[in-house]
């Protein structure tokens, strides 16, 4: 079969584009090289829905950031994705930095950010009691929020698949040939034909573009490293706490996550060890802590439950590149989607749809949905809800992950959902099983067992995240 549109990459951009296009009478395939969606930059970032005062006024970045941030509560509501409008503060530690605050304020106003306010140290301390006494003032942005980036991507993919989009995993695009009128994509899952291609391959967009002879841009990879602290440290910050930006990025931030953990990071290092380098480094991690302590002195590593790293896809132009390729009639690049790419993603999806509309007729389907039912979340239920649920399906009475109180029923749901989980990390991202303080120490092997049972394979065929990431080998003697 020949698809009308093939989207390369199932990060937050690819997934939201797929959801947007799934409302129309066209055939769409969403191709992802990994074993699951959200395995690139989308799974490792700060998860902030930025107000929009950072990006240079007039750039696509600034426009789509402000628009995306405005759309975020709505689409998260439609798909039952955790989102919280917690607001943010940018701290200044000197009069010099107050100048930067002023610049950010002016830029924010020019970009159309609403509610911005410059506040003094005392007010900042009122908003965030745990910040350093050295803070002299801050920029307060009430419109900023936090979201769960992978759940957003998972939900968008579920909606897309429900509406008929084909999600193909373990499908790395290796080559593209233009047959005049349609492309053949050579992938690790076989050849796929499509009339249009949307290149949303994150840090690999330049490579995919080169497959059609478009070498107009190059992605510069920059790594950011993070620590995640246990929920018991959740009191440390309620707003997202930024530092004044410098030439390398936005400084180190301290923020709550939608699940109530505290996230600190990132560092910004230009990556020398490859685009997919998500290794954390001892140097990186110790800088994160030191720099975070400048904002909130009580931050410490005793509460750390995990660390991770993500790679930014930076372009020399400093802006998003979302446009038809100059090389080919039917190829759209969605490149350079670095921060605030997550915030902008809902707007990026609309923008890409409008681009596509220039050449492809888009007529709405008779039946489609943009919503996703909330997955069962036993841990958030009342006693009577729990009672009713277990009565309906006893699998919800069996707790598998004891740190996060996740039931067997929720794990089974995650596996059988549209574009469902195929590996341990996939279950973890969909249900939080294994994300708590013991990090899967207890439930890891149970999850492997359930995956094997539900997918009808042997336990030793289950991986952590696809590929060769085996968890166990042959049977013992």
């Amino acid at each position: 079969m020949r698809y009308d549109v093939a989207i390369v990459g199932a990060g937050v951009c690819g997934a939201l584009i797929a959801r947007e296009l799934s409302a129309y009478n066209i055939s769409v395939a969403l191709l992802e090289r990994a074993n699951d969606v959200a395995m690139g930059t989308t799974k490792a970032n700060s998860a902030i829905v930025h107000g929009g005062f950072d990006a240079v006024t007039g750039t696509l970045k600034a426009k789509l950031n402000v628009k995306g941030t405005a759309l975020m509560p709505k689409i998260c509501g439609e798909m039952n994705v955790p989102y919280r409008n917690n607001g943010s503060v940018v701290l200044a530690f000197s009069e010099n930095e107050m100048e930067t605050i002023k610049t950010l304020y002016d830029r924010g106003i020019a970009n159309g950010v609403e509610g911005l306010e410059i506040i003094d140290g005392a007010r900042a301390k009122e908003l965030e009691p745990h910040i350093s006494d050295d803070v002299v003032g801050a920029l307060f942005c009430p419109s900023s929020g936090i979201v769960c980036p992978y759940e957003l991507t998972i939900a968008a993919t579920e909606v897309a698949v429900t509406n008929g989009v084909e999600f193909i995993r373990n499908c790395e695009v290796k080559s593209i040939s233009d047959n005049g009128g349609f492309y053949t994509l050579g992938t690790t899952a076989g050849d796929i034909e499509a009339t249009y291609i949307i290149n949303a391959a994150g840090t690999h967009t330049d490579e995919v573009a080169r497959m059609i002879g478009d070498s107009s841009f190059e992605v510069i990879s920059r790594k950011g490293e993070y620590y995640l602290l246990d929920k018991s440290y959740g009191y440390l910050a309620d707003h997202t706490v930024f530092q004044c930006p410098n030439y390398m990025g936005k400084g180190v931030l301290v923020t709550p996550s939608v699940d109530g953990n505290i996230l600190i990071g990132p560092t910004a290092l230009d990556v020398s060890d490859g685009k997919d380098s998500i290794e954390t480094t001892p140097e990186g991690l110790s800088t994160v802590v030191e720099r975070a302590q400048k904002s909130i002195p009580e931050v410490n590593l005793r509460g750390a439950i995990t660390s991770f790293a993500g790679v930014r896809a930076h372009l020399a132009s400093e802006d998003f590149l979302i446009d038809w390729s100059a090389q080919s009639e039917r190829f759209i690049n969605v490149a350079g989607i670095e921060s605030p790419g997550l915030s902008a993603a809902p707007a990026i999806a609309l923008y890409v749809k409008d681009l596509l509309k220039e050449k492809l007729e888009l007529s709405e389907k008779a039946n489609y949905t943009m919503t996703r039912k909330a997955p069962v979340r036993f841990r958030h239920m009342t006693k009577s809800e729990r009672e009713a649920l277990i009565k309906k399906n006893p699998a919800y009475g069996r707790i598998i992950c004891r740190c996060e109180t996740i039931t067997e029923g929720e794990i089974i749901d995650a596996i059988h959902a549209p574009a469902g989980a195929r590996d341990v990390d996939g279950v973890k991202r969909r249900t939080r099983a294994g994300m708590g303080r013991c990090q899967g120490g207890f439930c890891g092997s149970k999850v492997v067992e359930i995956l094997a049972r539900e997918l009808g394979v042997e336990m030793n065929e289950i991986t952590k995240f696809g590929g060769e990431s085996k968890i166990i080998y042959e049977r013992t003697k």
């Binding site: 995990t306 660390s307 004891r402 740190c403 067992e449 336990m459 991986t463 013992t476």
Partner: protein, 418 residues
């Protein structure tokens, strides 16, 4: 709502011993709630021997040790719910649990015994830099894969941490045909029992590298190797001592943390050193009628001591239910000079028997005196040839001594030069 004299949370050796003791003391209406499919707790996956030397005077495997108690339990009419997870204990002792046959259970208990055991410290808590590859797991998880599920978790193994589980897994993996390349221990001494170092490492020629840690992990999908380095006095890696060891598995045996989320959420005070509840000599927590024992109270290396401690808790709970537990003022206990903590943290002056004070030391001591005092008054003093952090110690205190101490007095256990 169902009512019950005694609810025991956790059916490991601690929960079973506490329940049996209470039963023996005349409490017949007992319910044990256990999350796993069977009773026995962590012992079910410890198929090595070395259990019961003190208590039964013979060497048993973990499941054999557990079975002795499970059999006793089945002879009684103690009620058991396995596959049942306790979600909450309220301030007025209502225990909420759930499973897939009763649904949501609520039980109003006269007394509760907390016996939830402990969990292993995960990788994140160590913040080892490096990759996201598979093949990094706690030694207990690996033990479960090998002993319960029957799968090999790896072929070339480095173990970080020389706690007992790590040592035992070094031997287990070797016997299963894997190559254990090194056991690295951050401290200058092992946290495990001496007998385990001899029987699990030395007998198999597995190198134990002290003052050494893993600084980085490598590999994209599955682990491909680790970089280890020696550490200085401040436990910081020494530059230039890094060494790459190829391996597909890194097992962590870097400590156990008592599983006290239930206790914490219920508002029961915890001791910041043990991470377990603060208890009196009957292992009653600061909440009347709630008792704690086993690894949830303090991490034990020998199950025999778990049993002993749990019998005390069971006896205490029985007394409480029968209205026979006396309350007077409290004497508190305190460790000093390398004595990290004491369990129990306080002693009821109205108590009716001798008390043993259990503790651990913070480093290796040789040829010292273990001194127990109250103020300037020396209660006892004993010469010790060697004390190590890996081995739990105790000193007995006589009932007369307790009765003679002033209310609000403090008993200090300290180490002095011999």
């Amino acid at each position: 709502m169902r009512e019950c004299d005694l609810v025991v949370i956790g059916g490991g050796p601690a929960g079973m011993a506490a329940a049996l003791k209470a039963y023996e003391e005349g409490i017949k209406d007992i319910l044990i709630l256990e999350r796993a499919e069977t009773l026995g707790g962590i012992l079910e996956q410890c198929i090595h021997t070395g259990f019961g030397l003190h208590y039964f005077g013979e060497e048993l495997s973990g499941p054999e040790y557990a079975d002795r108690f499970i059999e006793e339990i089945y002879k009684t009419d103690i009620d058991i719910r396995v596959d049942t997870m306790v979600l909450n204990v309220s301030a007025d002792n209502v225990v909420t649990a759930c499973n897939n046959f009763d649904g949501l259970l609520q039980i109003k208990a006269k007394a509760v015994v907390l016996a939830m055991g402990c969990r292993e410290r995960p990788r994140g808590a160590l913040s080892i830099a490096g990759c996201r590859a598979s093949g990094i797991m706690t030694a207990g998880t690996a033990q479960k894969y090998v002993n319960l599920d029957g799968y090999m978790p790896g072929h070339e193994v480095v173990i970080l941490g020389s706690g007992d589980i790590g040592l035992i897994m070094a031997r287990r993996m070797t016997l299963e045909g894997a190559k254990v390349k090194a056991v690295c221990e951050l401290m200058p001494y092992s946290g495990g029992l001496t007998r385990n170092i001899v029987q699990c490492l030395e007998d198999f020629g597995i190198p134990l590298r002290l003052s050494c840690t893993v600084v980085k992990t490598h590999g994209k999908d599955r682990l491909e190797g680790v970089t280890v380095a020696n550490v200085d006095k401040n436990l910081k890696p020494i530059l230039g001592t890094e060494e790459y060891i190829p391996c597909d598995t890194l097992m962590l045996s870097v400590g156990l943390i008592p599983e006290n989320e239930l206790s914490k959420n219920s508002g029961i005070d915890l001791d910041p050193v043990t991470n377990g509840p603060v208890v009196d000599e009957y292992r009653e927590t600061v909440r009347k009628g709630v008792f704690a024992c086993g690894n949830v109270l303090q991490v034990h290396d020998l199950v025999d001591y778990v049993t002993e401690e749990s019998q005390i808790a069971g006896e205490g709970a029985a007394k409480f239910i029968k209205g026979e537990k006396e309350y007077g003022g409290y004497i508190s206990t305190k460790g000093e000079n390398g004595v990290r903590y004491i369990v129990p943290q306080r002693i009821n002056k109205a108590t009716d028997k001798d008390v043993k004070l259990y503790f651990r030391v913070g480093k290796v001591f040789r040829n010292v005196k273990l001194v127990v005092k109250c103020g300037d008054e020396i209660i006892s003093s004993k010469k010790k040839n060697k004390m190590t952090p890996g081995e739990m110690e105790y000193v007995p205190i006589k009932l007369e001594t307790i009765k003679a101490l002033p209310e609000n007095g403090v008993i200090t256990v300290t180490i002095e030069e011999a």
